[in-house]
Amino acid sequence: DTAVSQTPKYLVTQMGNDKSIKCEQNLGHDTMYWYKQDSKKFLKIMFSYNNKELIINETVPNRFSPKSPDKAHLNLHINSLELGDSAVYFCASSPDWGTGAYNEQFFGPGTRLTVL
């Protein structure tokens, strides 16, 4: 199936731990994104990469570090996890990065992170 996939789907961990979330897309898109959705379902951009180059880096703590080994993968590593990091994290991809007319973003199923 052509899609955006994320692993793991659920992640429960203790405060202070370091964890990673992986994302892969097989849609042939050039741009990938990380979003955070809080308990009120508000979806906010964190990072975006275009062909392995960082494009968007919102006001996100330095504990969050994205890594893009190739244009089909974008991983998110989080150091020293805090209670406030609990949320659902979504990966997305799009054919373009805003320069063109078409920028429909396609989302993965999400990773629910719970920090205890």
Binding site: F42, I45, I55, I56, F90, A92, G98, Q105, F107, P109
Partner: protein
Amino acid sequence: EDQVTQSPEALRLQEGESSSLNCSYTVSGLRGLFWYRQDPGKGPEFLFTLYSAGEEKEKERLKATLTKKESFLHITAPKPEDSATYLCAVQAPGNTGKLIFGQGTTLQVKP
């Protein structure tokens, strides 16, 4: 400041009862307005993109329209399977592809 506001926050309809969801936006130079559907425990699913005032798009029972200040998602004769949260987003100015989302409208359609 660029922002998106959706109303109502929640909407309950009887099956077959048509209604509209509103998305008001403030952005300097609209480059695209997007509608998504999100089911519980899943990622947002792309529905429509609108680029200019007056544009309309349809998909089954859904029709999206756009003016210079707001967009409407009209739901005609909804069915229980249309129950979901509907998210509206605008593309921020500049060439980054950044989407600014509203808080969503949670729709419940009862049989």
